[in-house]
């Protein structure tokens, strides 16, 4: 069900259409929560909490207000807000597992079938990015995730978070610059270790 059909269905019957909303948006809301919070259990809880908040709001609104809704950014804003209260556990700062032993044991990165090794690699990759994202200031992290992980436009993010579009652009730009700097630092570190 595309979002405009979904919104029309919600405007007619929130409870009847809410299952479609959950199925249609659970992956992206969970992704946003997971990348914001870096903890799967927290992310699951926050995603559920976000859906509950959305349901409460929709039940209180009349049909016209629901029809006027920009669903994707609205839901994203709810999960970001729900996550704000949950960002308490210390982020896991252990270094990501090295792929060295895997490569040494004959793992062939050229094989693109999802072998257990490639699955493991993806997990390591995601963990590395999670750690990097955790190094961004929370406000910047949220807009980077909304823009580049979730794929919202600058305008949608600005509306969703109630910030000027220029501010959002600047924050995303700053976030990417910080991430780039982190990667360069990691590489410099690797080089130092190898030449030591």
């Amino acid at each position: 069900m595309d979002d405009s059909t979904l919104i029309e269905a919600l405007a007619r019957d929130v409870d009847g259409a809410f299952e479609a909303l959950v199925h249609g948006h659970q992956d992206r809301l969970y992704t946003i929560a997971l990348r914001l919070l870096a903890d799967p259990a927290d992310a699951e809880e926050v995603t559920q909490d976000a859906f509950a908040r959305a349901h409460r709001a929709l039940c209180a609104w009349d049909a016209d207000r629901i029809r006027a809704l920009a669903l994707r950014p609205w839901l994203a804003a709810i999960v970001v807000n729900a996550g704000r209260n949950r960002r308490r556990r210390p982020v896991d700062r252990r270094p990501a597992v090295s792929l060295g032993p895997l490569l040494a044991s004959g793992f062939d990165p050229g094989d693109d079938r999802p072998t257990p090794e490639t699955v493991a690699e993806r997990r390591v990759e995601a963990a590395t990015w999670t750690r990097r994202l955790a190094g961004l200031p929370p406000g910047v992290r949220a807009v980077v995730i909304l823009r580049h992980v979730d794929g919202l436009s600058y305008t949608e993010i600005a509306t969703a978070l109630g910030r000027p579009e220029g501010t959002v652009k600047a924050q995303v730009h700053r976030g990417l610059r910080r991430l780039r700097a982190m990667i360069e630092d990691e590489r410099a570190e690797e080089r130092r270790e190898m030449t030591a």
């Binding site: 809410f18 299952e19 959950v22 659970q26 590489r187």
Partner: protein, 283 residues
């Protein structure tokens, strides 16, 4: 992220990787049970699991608003149960992988063992006011006691609706939690039971300390009420006050009118005055 291993020097690596592509690749899927758990918490879908009861395993179905159904676990395929639940409530039911939440299981077990004070939220959406009134009234009957259908009808202010009370009890979606088995026919016979028939009703009443055979024998002899000639109070035979009357002080009555004519007043606990309107219908 396998870094370049070659030059250490001055040829500054500009943008090492496509950061935007790497970020886009962080999109992932929600865990398997998340949608069901979310919908169930909101009361838009239900979960079910089995738990033991005096009648063997029962299936308890619930959501964030409360328990929505109790049924016998035997002889029903999950698909059939789920279809039946959907037809009755319009909600999907999914087997809960983790079983019943411990708090809920404890509360239901306590209720089944006769503790009426334990609070169990019920989700009775879509049910009529009359049915809810009947079920709430049945909740007032203590374990080890029974009341006639007519008692419920009179207590909820619908003394002529005895047959409708029987029908509402027959449609009780949460038997054992709402003890419809404690409501019997006005003629003293045990009557029907939605959770597996009269044999189960007798079994669970016996487990609660009621002797169904003795109750029916008394009814056959025309006895509906028991009075005490020392207090001049008259009760339903299973009322806790009636059970305290010593054998040599027990006075049987056919009706509240007969008791009243003999100078007896109705017990304030079991309120028998209201119980003798109509004869009761099968649940």
């Amino acid at each position: 992220m396998t870094g370049s291993t070659g030059s250490t020097g001055s040829t500054a690596p500009a943008v090492p990787d496509d950061i935007e592509a790497a970020l886009a690749a962080l999109a992932t899927s929600a865990p398997g049970g998340l949608a069901v758990a979310t919908l169930a918490a909101l009361g838009l879908a239900d979960l079910y699991a089995t738990m033991p009861s005096p009648l063997g395993d029962v299936l308890v179905t619930w959501n964030g608003r409360g328990v929505s159904a109790v049924s016998l676990a035997e002889n029903e395929e999950p698909a059939a149960l789920e279809a039946r639940h959907f037809a009755a409530t319009g909600r999907r039911a999914t087997r809960a992988t983790g079983g019943l939440p411990a708090v809920l299981a404890r509360a239901i077990a306590r209720r089944m063992s006769g503790d009426r004070r334990v609070r169990i939220a019920l989700d009775l959406r879509g049910r009529g006011d009359f049915e809810r009134q009947v079920w709430l009234k049945a909740l007032e009957i203590p374990s080890g006691e029974v009341r006639p259908y007519g008692w419920i009808a009179a207590e909820i202010g619908r003394p002529r609706a005895v047959r409708a009370v029987g029908s509402a009890l027959g449609h009780n979606p949460v038997p054992l939690i709402v003890p419809c088995h404690r409501v019997v026919r006005g003629d003293g016979t045990i009557g029907q039971y939605s959770l597996g028939g009269p044999a189960n009703k007798r079994a669970i009443l016996a487990a609660e300390g009621v002797d169904p055979d003795a109750l029916e024998a008394m009814a056959r002899a025309g006895v509906r009420l028991i009075g005490s000639d020392s207090t001049r109070i008259v009760c339903h035979p299973t009322c806790r006050n009636a059970r305290r009357i010593r054998a040599d002080h027990r006075v049987p009555f056919r009706s509240i009118t007969a008791a009243s004519d003999a100078g007896y007043r109705p017990c304030r606990v079991c309120r028998p005055a209201s119980s003798l309107v109509g004869t009761g219908a099968a649940a």
